[in-house]
């Protein structure tokens, strides 16, 4: 039996370790489990980046048919990632700073940082510059659901808030209260 990579219907190339049956089991040896967790978090982040997925929930491992099936299950070898194992992987990812619990104060759903908030801040500012949105007030909706798809399409509001807060620190954005919630105004960086 040879363990090889596999290309999923969505065009994602699964690493060969995904074809190894024990990869789906929580390892009793802590050193081995650390390797397994490291491999899983790498896999989760790259798959999220590939499909532009922002959220991962323990529920995704419980019920089939979700957008994470290609990764959390391997029908070819009849294995799936047990929800409890996924939960401990999520915990490790949060500790490592590549994910954050969303909403806070629970451990079953995370926001994935396949780009760190700092990187999102740069993407956001660059997008605002290139689309000529400097100094105008924008609603969050205009950013997350733009008429022309952008790298920020569908970005979750909590992540957007974090990115704006980072820009605000360097005076490149300002949060503004508007009639139906919050808005933001972008500034060119001070020379």
């Amino acid at each position: 039996m040879s363990l090889s990579t596999h290309t999923t219907p969505s065009g994602f190339v699964l690493p060969s370790i995904h074809a190894a049956p024990p990869f789906f089991t929580k390892q009793p040896n802590p050193a081995t489990e650390a390797i397994v967790i490291e491999q899983w978090s790498k896999l989760i982040l790259s798959y999220a980046r590939h499909r532009k997925l922002f959220m991962l929930r323990v529920d995704d491992a419980e019920t089939p048919g979700g957008e994470w099936d290609e990764v959390l299950r391997n029908e070819r070898i009849n294995r799936r990632l047990p929800p409890t194992h996924l939960e401990s992987i999520l915990t490790a990812m949060v500790v490592k700073g590549v994910a954050a619990y969303e909403p806070a104060k629970q451990t079953r759903s995370v926001l994935l940082y396949w780009r760190l908030p700092e990187e999102w801040a740069e993407v956001l500012h660059q997008w605002a510059t290139s689309t000529g949105q400097m100094n105008t007030i924008m609603t969050y909706y205009e950013i997350t659901e733009p008429a022309v798809p952008s790298p920020l399409s569908n970005i979750p509001i909590p992540l957007l808030r974090k990115a704006i807060a980072i820009l605000a620190k360097t005076n490149r954005a300002q949060v503004i209260a508007i009639a139906d919630g919050e808005g933001v105004r972008f500034f060119a960086p001070a020379k």
Partner: protein
């Protein structure tokens, strides 16, 4: 007036000794000269041979093997010599070649250690090293790997070629394998890595306790295998990562 008798006494003892010394000197002188000329001839021949076949020695594994065997049979170590690396090695560039291969072996062993617990099958090592070297590196053989691991010995990193179940494996961690582990590893290799208690009980006649202890030790203590708790047949299977065939 007496004439001196013609007898042995006529020979001046001292003179004789001197003559013999002269003769012996001249003989050994000529022998040394002869030897020197032979040696230089041998060297020239070797240099010529080496420079003519250097590329072939480096690129053709069977030629390299034959060459190394020839060296061993005439008592010449291609890597030894008066200078660092040896004039022999310098002549061939074989020293660098061997060290380079050694570095590649270490690279593969270290980078796969996490997933195989520091034990890699020779074939697998050969495959990954060959991949690392690319096509231009020429093909390498098990012999080359064994040779290179020998050159790594002075480093004391504990790289060792061990034989398990008739198959060569390279161990990159200092870890003694007991008999039960060796048996388990050998069996796992036949099974593509997967092993369960019942296999050891049925095929090796072990008691369940003995089988469990061996497997759990490998799992928990040595990190030589991974657990699969979703096994269709037994529910709990052990996977010896060094016996699994990884494509990447």
């Amino acid at each position: 007036m007496h004439r001196r008798g013609v007898g042995l006494a006529a020979f001046d003892k001292q003179q004789t000794t001197r003559r013999f010394e002269e003769l012996s000197n001249s003989i050994s002188q000529s022998q040394v000269t002869h030897l020197n000329s032979q040696l230089s001839q041998f060297r020239t021949a070797l240099t010529h041979f080496a420079s003519t076949h250097r590329d072939k020695i480096k690129s053709d594994p069977s030629f390299r093997h034959a060459f190394q065997q020839m060296c061993t049979s005439i008592g010449v170590d291609p890597l030894a010599g008066p200078r660092k690396g040896g004039w022999w090695a310098e002549l061939l560039g074989l020293g660098d070649w061997q060290y380079e291969l050694g570095v590649q072996i270490v690279d593969v062993c270290v980078s796969t250690r996490e997933r195989n617990g520091g034990l890699i099958e020779m074939e697998e090592l050969l495959r990954v090293v060959s991949k690392l070297r690319g096509v231009s590196g020429g093909s390498i053989t098990v012999d080359d790997i064994v040779q290179s691991i020998k050159t790594l010995e002075p480093l004391g990193a504990g790289y060792q070629v061990v034989e398990i179940g008739g198959r060569k494996m390279v161990r990159s961690v200092v870890k003694e394998l007991d008999d039960d582990q060796t048996t388990t590893l050998a069996l796992a290799q036949d099974q593509g890595g997967r092993i369960v208690e019942d296999m050891l009980i049925d095929r090796r006649g072990w008691s369940r306790e003995r089988a469990r202890t061996a497997l759990e030790n490998m799992l928990l203590r040595d990190g030589l295998c991974w657990l699969d708790d979703q096994d269709e047949v037994y529910g709990r299977a052990y996977w010896v990562t060094s016996a699994m065939k990884w494509d990447v």
